[in-house]
């Protein structure tokens, strides 16, 4: 698992091409990034890595990097 894999997962949740996002993307700048997108991302993370994000954590994310770093730490903790 690397950050590209997680970027891919986020793009999948966003139903967008991976080239449209980067680690520096500001989440609030992406108009399609609705709460439903977060539900998709939560679902993918649970299915693929068995990890869960809380609503509080999600609210704290400003950039894609914030999300990737949080998820990476969680995956490391369960392995």
């Amino acid at each position: 698992m690397n950050s590209d894999e997680l970027l891919g997962l986020i793009a999948e949740g966003l139903e967008a091409d991976i080239s449209t996002i980067s680690m520096e993307t500001q989440i609030s700048d992406v108009p399609d990034w609705t709460s439903l997108v977060w539900l998709s991302i939560m679902s993918l993370l649970d299915e693929r890595y068995g990890i869960q994000l809380s609503a509080k954590e999600i609210r704290s994310f400003k950039t894609v990097r914030d999300a990737v770093e949080c998820v990476t730490a969680k995956i490391a903790a369960v392995r």
Partner: protein
């Protein structure tokens, strides 16, 4: 271990087996006539991507009660059609249970009003209880307990909900999901009908804030005006007296709580998950239900989803699903009913199927 702390706990602490037999004999459904389609929602709200929402939640339309029609009215119609389509003697009902979170009045109990409107005997006890998506399983357990304890021979259990009256027209997160409706279920100690088997209930009020109507009750009788609702990204506004839902918190609760609940309920009934013929989950939305189903490795055909034309009808979803799927169930098959949501609260129980009267 505290009950509900971890649904994977020992079966003995988790749930209860009926001491005597109780059966579901009949179920009827009533939906208000007015239907709000996704097309209408799209026309009203140009900024909502209804195609994308529909693909995710699997809901195309929902029934909505007109302003003058209450949950009590809807439940009355459901019960009336049960009586009119069968030879059930109204005087044989000795307990009326009504599950709603949108009662007609603060007081008296809507169940008392329904006792009179339905011309039930005055020996009939009447009780409202406030539960949402877990309400049907709660009600079945209550009815079964009353029958098993000898406190009632025949229970009329009604569910009725008009969440639409709590919903802000611009709050996309709830408006697309919820629909109004009512059901009536007849439970007694003789059958014939679907036998109610063991089950477990639970609650965790630490999640109360995540699905709530904040004002109207005594904690805050009146709204202090319009406040923005922030549920993650790009959500719309709501008022204190309207329904607030934090979808992410609810999803996380469901992921954490429901798979262990399902496993514990199977264990309590001494069956393996694979031996359960049908799973009738609370019909929250396609996305949520499918995620739970995949997580539990349940084949799609064993956990049907029937909410496309009615939406999430809260405590009505499970009886509506049983009503719709009844022809597919075979005598002797084992069903698991699973409800979860607002509270938080949850419950699951099993049924041994025999055909029931449906109206």
């Amino acid at each position: 271990m505290r009950n509900g702390e971890d649904c994977g706990g020992t079966v003995k602490e988790m749930g209860f087996r009926p001491r005597s037999e109780a059966f579901i004999r009949a179920i009827s459904v009533h939906l208000p006539e007015t239907v709000v389609t996704n097309l209408q929602l799209q026309e009203e709200n140009a900024d909502w991507d209804m195609a994308k929402i529909e693909a995710k939640v699997g809901i195309k339309a929902r029934h909505v009660a007109p302003p003058e029609v209450t949950a009590g009215d809807l439940a009355y119609f459901a019960a009336r059609s049960l009586f009119e389509s069968s030879d059930v003697d109204r005087n044989s009902i000795d307990f009326l249970l009504f599950c709603t979170q949108s009662p007609d009045y603060f007081l008296p109990a809507t169940a008392c009003i329904l006792q009179d409107r339905l011309r039930l005997g005055t020996h009939c006890a009447a009780l409202d209880f406030n539960q949402g998506c877990s309400g049907y399983v709660y009600g079945l357990r209550l009815a079964e307990s009353l029958v098993a304890a000898g406190n009632a021979k025949r229970v009329l259990f009604l569910t009725g909900e008009t969440y639409s009256k709590y919903i802000h027209s611009r709050d996309r997160s709830v408006r697309v999901l919820f629909g109004d409706g009512a059901t009536a279920t007849l439970i007694d100690d003789t059958g014939p009908g679907a036998r109610i088997l063991a089950g477990c209930l639970g609650s965790d009020g630490s999640g109360a804030e995540n699905l709530i109507v904040r004002s109207g009750g005594m904690r805050s009788r009146r709204s202090s005006g319009e406040v923005p609702i922030e549920t993650g990204q790009h959500e719309s506004v709501g008022q204190l007296e309207t329904l607030f839902m934090d979808g992410q918190e609810l999803f996380q609760f469901t992921l954490r709580r429901i798979p262990p609940l399902v496993e514990a309920t199977a264990k309590l009934n001494n069956v393996a998950l694979e031996e359960v013929d049908w799973f009738v989950f609370h019909q929250a939305n396609v996305f949520m239900n499918e995620h739970i189903r995949r997580k539990l490795k349940i084949p799609q055909e064993k956990a049907p989803i029937v909410l496309e034309d009615v939406g999430n009808t809260v405590s009505n979803t499970i009886p509506i699903a049983i009503h719709r799927l009844g022809d597919q169930f075979r005598p002797g098959q084992k069903l698991m009913l699973v409800g979860f949501g607002v509270g938080y609260s949850w419950g699951a129980c099993m049924l041994e199927w025999q055909p029931i009267h449906r109206a």
